[in-house]
Symmetry: C2
Subunit: 323 residues, 2 copies
């Protein structure tokens, strides 16, 4: 019997590092996790992770043939196989992750950021199958993005291309503080946190009643606002509309830069469906140059939210030979 | 004796259509032009242009071997070989330029917009030799741009990628009218016309004396303002500074999108050197996310302004097999 090829997809997060062994069709044949926060030293982290992957692989029996390790991580640099200055992880400065992995294995190791991994995942397993030019935007606590041009992920000269979350949508000193130390970045408007910030400003200006007035800033999250909007809460709907408009405005820029066939939205906010898609689509079209109008599809990701990070990371192995 | 290969580089402009026969090193061995405005019918225009190119080729004698036609034109679509809705040309709607050319020749015909042609020209003959990821911005009456990623020009799904001139730098209804029908596009700030518009606003707000106060809007051009700035005119210098700042602000976005090794500025405004490069560089760096800071070169084009359009158009043949 021919062995079945599997790729390891690893998603390094601030709290947990989750991995799966994934076949070419996107089936996760085995999975497990380790606690990122338990490992102050990257060498020990990699050794523990590598060991746990081997154990999971052995459980699959003799039929599985591991062909490489795809890793999605905050601030992953695909050109160098490094993690660079990731604020939310235990390891500081520039971490040579692929190099450390290669002390354990000769198989390909591909490191990139979460959003790039999601973009490749969409191409290999999701709605972008067969597409050559598209963009994936991940909407979580922050905003990530990955560009595929001519069938290939765009890395850029230093490995950090496709980072629209930190382009300024509203420049100026009186603007919203961004976690990156600057002001007015797209992420401060279009993300779960951005939605919450917009809600507070709308609430401050309005006298409309709202069930959300009883929540503190700390208590609020995208799900609470989404639920209120579904029940018809006016301020919640306004906050979604504003978020979608800001996104749509920026998407017009994205289209002018790369003229994609489609833009996929992934993550918590994208689950709010029309609440976010309708204003985003409307503002994107309104701000497009005529040659682009009506041509670019704005679509929900077809990767399940639950497994996307692992699938995306594993997909790097099916499309890429960098190590 | 082996024949010398030459590519025809054709630059279609609103008034004249200029062409040259160019060798692999960028030497223009023969050149001529026809008047664009004389030809209401595209078929007649192409026939006349084709004929004139053959005559120029024959003058080179038996030693020259023509290998293809590269064409730079407003609204050129490289995917389809068409000109689409070019406001400044005599032919309306969608013009199947490559198809009409192919009635005369079986050689490759590549059509793209002027700025994309300039980008390829920079890669083949200019300062981007050996670079894989860079951006060229052409600053003339308007603003054009072309992106090269991974050694290839970015076309996008519909052939119109890399168009930053019509992304909004300052959205909103009270903003500057753009020729494209929208408001606040980058081109309304960063172009010869944008410089003039900024000068007028600065002049209106200021009581500083200026030699430029005696010129009408119609009389003013980038050269007059540049000359005044070189003589130390305060308002002229301010207008350049503002133009450079707006450019630099947008370049930070460009870097976040494509993470290039270098950005080249080409055309009239770029000749103003430090007057435009200094504020552009300063504002770009100030608005960059830290991972990009200090890494992206901002450089003047190394193509001569005089021949660049023809060189750029011809270079399409040396790098591209689309037809």
């Amino acid at each position: 019997m021919a062995k079945k090829e599997v790729a390891a997809g690893i998603d390094i997060g601030g709290t947990n590092t989750v991995f799966g062994l994934v076949d070419r069709e996107g089936n996760i044949l085995g999975e497990d996790r380790i606690k990122t926060t338990h490992y102050d030293e990257i060498e020990v982290f990699v050794a523990a992770l590598y060991e746990k992957i081997q154990v999971t692989l052995q459980k699959l029996g003799n039929g599985a043939d591991l062909i490489g390790y795809g890793i999605g991580t905050p601030m992953g640099n695909i050109n160098k196989g490094t993690i660079e200055y990731a604020a939310g992880l235990p390891w500081k400065g520039i971490v040579p992750l692929a190099e450390i992995f290669h002390r354990h294995t000769d198989l390909p190791v591909v490191v990139t950021n979460d959003a790039n991994a999601a973009a490749v995942g969409e191409m290999v397993y999701g709605g972008a199958k067969g597409m050559k030019n598209f963009v994936v935007i991940t909407l979580g606590t922050g905003l990530g993005s990955g560009f595929v041009i001519d069938g290939k992920l765009v890395y850029g000269h230093d490995g950090f291309a496709g980072e629209i979350g930190h382009t300024a949508i509203r420049p100026g000193p009186s603007n919203r503080d961004c976690g990156c130390g600057r002001k007015g970045c797209l992420e401060t408007y279009v993300s779960a946190t951005g939605l919450k910030r917009s809600l507070l400003k709308i609430m401050a200006d309005s006298n409309e009643p709202s069930e959300l007035r009883k929540f503190s800033f700390d208590e609020l999250d995208a799900e609470i606002i989404h639920d209120a909007a579904k029940r018809g809460d006016y301020l919640a709907k306004r906050a979604f509309k504003h978020t979608g408009q800001m996104l749509g405005f920026k998407l017009a820029d994205v289209v002018a830069h790369t003229n994609p066939e489609a833009i996929f939205l992934f993550g918590g906010l994208a689950l709010a469906k029309d609440l976010i898609f309708e204003p985003a689509k409307e503002y994107m079209e309104e701000n497009l140059l005529s040659i682009y109008k009506g041509k670019v599809k704005l679509l929900p990701s077809e990767l399940s939210t639950h497994n996307a990070a692992v699938l995306g990371a594993s997909s790097l192995i099916w499309t890429n030979n960098k190590s």
